[in-house]
Symmetry: C2
Subunit: 267 residues, 2 copies
Amino acid sequence: MARRQITGFSNPTVKYLRSLREKKHRKAAGKVLAEGLRLLTDARESGKVPEVLVMAEGRDPHPLLAELEAAVDAAGGEIIETSDDILAKITGKSNPQAVAGVFAEWDSSLAALDRSDAQIWLVAQALRDPGNLGTMLRTGDAVGAGGLILIDDCADLFSVEAVRASMGAVFTQQVAMARWEEFLPWLRAGEGQLVAASLRDAVPYRGAPYTAPCFILVGNESQGLPEDYEMACDLRVTMPMRGRADSLNAAVAGAVLAYEVLASLEG
Amino acid sequence: MARRQITGFSNPTVKYLRSLREKKHRKAAGKVLAEGLRLLTDARESGKVPEVLVMAEGRDPHPLLAELEAAVDAAGGEIIETSDDILAKITGKSNPQAVAGVFAEWDSSLAALDRSDAQIWLVAQALRDPGNLGTMLRTGDAVGAGGLILIDDCADLFSVEAVRASMGAVFTQQVAMARWEEFLPWLRAGEGQLVAASLRDAVPYRGAPYTAPCFILVGNESQGLPEDYEMACDLRVTMPMRGRADSLNAAVAGAVLAYEVLASLEG
């Protein structure tokens, strides 16, 4: 049982944990930082146990925390106890959640995806807002999607912000990252309908001929999808735009479409 | 034509403008700060002209900027030119958009709302994320809603974050703020169906008997709606939840429901 206490702000482990909030350091370390008992419990129930668990000293006992500690011990992980102040420094919040965990980043290659797992998949192209990525994961969980595929340069799916916005779905949904040039041949090597919201040569999104597995493609927050990406889709659909704007928030557009596809496929 | 240049970081106007990013100061001043030519043009086209326009010196000429300057001049407003550095200090961004505007906050009383204006209204209860509020405004614009009503203690709808996330809809959608105790009597004093996503005594959201004007109520991000608020609704609907979680992001839930109501009312 690996347990230790950290009492100094300048402890290298404190610096290391704090550095995981920055994309560069997080990626280089190949780790994922998640905060809060609920999120860490979601992870555990999904079979993902942190390598390192950091807890505030003197926290209230909680059965879920006890289960988490047991799981970390059983997996040979490390448990660190520290003060509220140091935990606040690690999490960058004045009112830190009393527990944080560090996970080894998991496989996010396209080759590891099993498209037969689900009828719906979400695909995000160059999304820059980690909150939008997390929200798409959460929506994917809700519609029973298989997972989220990130195309081109997206925000960091394993950032603290995205993990938090996913409400645990980052641990349950499959995730993959690929360039468009890799994704399209992969998609075409098997069954799959690629669908995008579009204004080009599109049909109304309600009652459109969706087929499973349906891959719902959502484009960058400000640019939308490149035209050639849209034209590579099997189906382009439009959503009503009754106001001045011609687009929705990316995560919202994906969700409205995903619920329509779900209703259509379960019809 | 009121124009002046500001060259010093410690200029009181710079401090004042910068203070408007904080809720406390923004509210006390009764002003709304918005950044970016597109957003300010949306405002102008909706009849809202900034009292103060702040621009970077040496910016490229742009016909929309020229129109904006003319509108501010015509309305007796002030135009301030300053350096990129000072603009960055005001906006708190290293790469500031070249223009920002300060508006007088407008009327957000329930009494000013005209429910006959639209078939759909969005209602947010205790939403704490300004991005969610902005996203709901943007969705409201898209579905042709009349506006957004904030119930109880919500995030600041006129914050820079909410204004930005609204993509200009904060200028076109009607907005009102009220306590639940004010809102419910106001609602019941006229026509209106109050609808919430709920797990209590609810019917499937697809094909539910929506009627106009339909008020779609979305609850707090972590607590959801209080039970008595849900029970005061005319219609409670459920959305499929196929995964581990039992809820969607608040702005996403509102959007999926709003698009369903739109399809139903137009059906």
